[in-house]
Symmetry: D2
Subunit: 370 residues, 4 copies
């Protein structure tokens, strides 16, 4: 039940502070026999590494992941896997001036009120760096998924930056890895580059919407009501730092549809049911249909901006705060691999749960009963 853990059978507990000696993830329940090594996990972390371009945090760090347990002769043993990333670039002095002030929009004030103690260096645990551990865990989850089911692909990309949305008609999967924003629309990539450059120079920041799609997921994952696949996905995405909304399929727009427009009609194909559309986002009644699972989450803008904001100190004095140093004009960019990692962790968890609860799907449409 641990409050800092996530998952049921595939369980991830992240630990570590932004400016502590290290951070990591204790991953329990990974199925045995999964081939994994540090290089594979590093690949996923590098996707997230800041400093790749001028749009993300200027902070340089190695982000080198080590596997401390749970892997023997290149395979998981089924025992807990400890992933550790040492913090090598901390520059604590950037934050020392503001150790008694609460940054608006950050968890500084709520952490202090709750715990009476706050690691003020770089946001402590609530910092976006905590997500490095999640990305590492997600890399392990991806490998495990591949060992269980062939053909599952998880892809995340930005669909909105500030007020700017992509043009779905120009959607190009291949474009995603060609620009610094993981946006599947080449024109948007150009426009957003200028836009964000302007924001960065003015010390401002903006939010974003990230969409994550999982293709090739078998039908049947998720258990009714509270163990729903979409429930766990919503929780996973909402747990990412700075996320304020989550949608599955049509999402908030589902409210606007009528029943006729919303229903995904069903016909029969050679391999099973075929759906005429995917308003449901691949999940019906909390269980995967076999269609693409489509979700989106919104990330609010970074609060560490160079404009002075009114706030108070620990002792209740009113003051102003200006956060200098490194900051992200759009944390949404970094959230793309994190969203993918969470999708991977939840899907793996549900693949194991499904196998445990029912073994394999028991209802075969079109076949005579066993």
């Amino acid at each position: 039940m641990s409050i800092n853990s996530f998952g049921h059978l595939f369980r991830v507990t992240t630990w570590g502070e932004s400016h502590g000696p290290a951070l990591g993830a204790t991953v329990d329940g990974c199925p045995p026999g999964v081939a994994i090594d540090e290089a594979t996990l590093q690949h996923w972390l590098d996707k997230r590494k800041p400093g790749q371009n001028k749009f993300t945090t200027q902070r340089r760090e190695a982000d080198a992941v080590k596997i401390l347990s749970g892997v023997f002769e290149g395979q998981t043993t089924g025992t807990p896997v400890q992933l550790m990333i040492e913090n090598t670039d901390q520059r604590s002095k950037d934050y020392s001036e503001i150790k008694d002030k609460f940054r608006p929009g950050h968890a500084d004030i709520t952490y202090f009120q709750k715990y009476g103690i706050r690691d003020y260096r770089g946001g402590g645990r609530s910092s976006a760096r905590e997500t490095a551990a999640r990305v590492a865990a997600g890399g392990l989850a991806r490998a495990a998924i591949a060992s269980l089911v062939a053909g599952v692909e998880i892809t995340g990309y930005m669909v909105q930056m500030g007020p700017h949305k992509i043009d779905r008609d120009r959607f190009d999967w291949d474009e995603i890895v060609r620009n610094p924003f993981w946006v599947p629309d080449a024109r948007a990539a150009d426009e957003w580059a200028s836009y964000l450059d302007g924001l960065r120079k003015s010390g401002s920041s903006v939010g974003a919407v990230i969409e994550v799609v999982a293709r090739g997921v078998p039908a049947g994952l998720g258990a009714p009501v509270y163990g729903k696949l979409d429930t766990d996905l919503a929780a996973a995405m909402m747990s990412i730092n700075a996320v304020k909304g989550v949608e599955i399929g049509e999402g908030m727009s589902a409210a606007m549809l009528t029943g006729e427009l919303n229903a995904d009609e069903i016909t029969m194909g050679p391999d099973g049911p075929v759906y005429s559309s995917n308003h449901a986002g691949g999940i019906l009644g909390g269980i995967s249909t076999g269609q693409d699972i489509v979700l989106r989450f919104a990330v609010k803008p970074t609060s560490s901006i160079l404009t002075a904001r009114r706030t108070i100190t620990k002792t209740g004095e009113e003051t102003e705060i200006v956060t200098k140093g490194r900051h992200d004009p759009c944390v949404g960019i970094r959230a793309v691999p994190v969203g993918e990692a969470m999708m991977a962790c939840v899907l793996l968890d549900h693949l194991l749960l499904h196998r445990g609860q029912v073994g394999e799907n028991r209802g075969h449409i079109g076949e005579s009963p066993a």
Copy 2:
């Protein structure tokens, strides 16, 4: 860890099918000494009862809740409380024609694929009636919250029906209980009445957005990262039947904001910190700030409509389906008390978790250290 349970210390497991003998909720972890009786719980259920007006399901039922355990001499004992609601009005024959067809947009097909067995009568467990159990559990949670903290108020209301949104400038708390939609805008109530009447006559249906506000919640609830208050709230709302999106505070719109516009500045008041705005929706870093907790969730339209839809049978034959009988033109209306109930359950759970984990808030702003 049960997949059909919800909560950590205050844990609710719902059980029962729409057309089974009964349904209910096993509520575990309710603090002892809470004054509760069946009449109090019934009040919350009656708020949900269909047949109140012609806009909700025509199905008549008593929805009478019984307390079978966990209460002695009018107080909770701290042991599991079993709440049961017997099904008295079922009219199974309404559905018998379609027992081999999968209704598009429903969990019929996914349940069958996963379990190989499906209670086709009225949607079985995925039916909206399962929420009666949640509303009963929510009634108990409200009573428990009141025994722990004075002044917490939980109110839900509709802010959108189909394409129609309320006018926030006409927002009137008192209007909520005066119309059949729980909408805080008298003019919208009139407009929506006509709109929905038209939909009902044509056999169509529409979605909705419900907003739930919790006032008077103390700061400090929620634990960092995965045990965040917003994570549990998101999961709770997403678990409601037909929900496709969840937002906290600005929600999906947070993406559009710049850092300056999004930050809720902090000043000092006589009783503690005062926020200039509430874009955060009352939660920062997963922990409550003491501000109003504001969330919204979107409900997709009912799929049981009187228009024929293409689908397949269990044996894979293509066919059409028309669901006659009773249906909701807008299930969103019924989701309002359910959203309130889930808010109550999650808040109680976090009040207990907070008390267990830290006792009481340890950081007092403005006071000299203890």
Copy 3:
């Protein structure tokens, strides 16, 4: 995580008080497609029913179990199964005199200290009647086990009553159901009948040791360290009312053995490994070996005896207490089917966990690697 629930994937939450309207078990995670009905569960409950003989409580009750959910057309659906047993024979007046006194050896005093409220009628929830719900859940578990693995047999029997132990040389499986004590030793059955008769007449009571054996359990169940099969079995048995000790295999006597005597040597048979002995009780490193799983638990004597005992009242006054009315001279007799039920619940849970975590055993001794 619920504190009143048990199990991981197959999860049982019992509810209900001895003198409340009903008691029962919410069973979540039962695999779908298991054939079950009330008569089958009733069989297991009848094994437990008091009044069968003069040695158990004189309390007469129907103990009729009802299935309120989770079963459709004779099969489990995979959704929560609600089992309910209504209390029909309560005779509250037996206890009313002592509602302000704490019975020594009972949970009366600790319940009151913790909760400030105590259902004094018949021991409330801590009463042995709560185990009726467990036995019902165990009946469901047995059916589910049979649907997963053929040939698993779970048998419990008494091996000690007070100071009297069975003679292992006279062990006879068939004798177990032929006497009122479920003791596999006909001579012991005779001796114990006289012994217990004497105790009953004098209003005294005595403890017992129950042994439960599970045969035909496949190797591989249990996860290392905390998710060990013996860990869960120990917890399950210790949770039974009045249990004070649990042993696996050699149990406490393992301390006396030397390494040579304790080691179960391994040879190879046609179907796999063969062990020369079973000091381990069928579990090595927390994982089943495929041998008989053998455990024992000790039940302390009933504290409700007809001799006056010194105690205090709720207001702290010293007094004496004599419990009249119905009582068990040896609750151990009733614990036999409960021990079997707990064994069944834990084994089913681990069969599902095993399937979820690894699928099926991956290491095949004697075969060339896959």
Copy 4:
């Protein structure tokens, strides 16, 4: 729910293999504001360190614990604490000869059957070294308990080695730390020294019984039925490597008592209830009474002995095995601090659970109702 985690609110997940790079414990849910540092934890580890005397494993290692997260400026922050112990002395070659044979009495065979992969070096995860992580976690738990409740003392000691038991009449608390066996009986210490020396020379091994007492524990800890304090204690002790039996209070001997002899009578003292005896071991109905909590667990003899034993290889060939190198003639000695650590972890967990569930005890005997 993680299978390798332990606890509800204070949750410990151990990780790491005997011969991997490191091992450790992820401790989640430690209350904030607890003063802790590496030296304090090291104290508890040193108590466990092998090589202290010739009776424990000859393996030398630093066993230096590092705190990687969750502590800031000398206090816990309430976030996960990562404790890591690097493996510095491994001598893998000791085991390489036997990498394809299963040591009788070890988890080698069951691990292989379940996972198909086995870290054969030194017993991998099932090795007793895994308990170093538990002892470190226990050190943190002790500090947290002290911050919550004054006066709780947890002490473990041996009461039996092989067939030799201590003489309770010679019980001396001060003797415990003066001999290499933590036995509270000076004469037994002498006798056992000779006895064990003989065993060691012959390459044999023997089991032990360890008793752990917790004094000063407030009444009210534990929740009814499955969340019982004794249930969690039993699970905790049974999870220790090589444990085969657990007892609370009278334990297995409770079976032999009559009701009159077993009942702990109650009188009233200046500070509350006073019990005439403690057959219950400090727990009634799963809830602590305020008396000393007394438990015992039995450890089976080490299976790594210098005598040849019959076994099989991974490929099913019959063979013999002789384990040379380092081994423990009595692992029970090392289990003493582990038992203490588990007691500390469970008690802290229940202190937090109690606070979360009920706040503080609500029933005050002798006082007028609030």
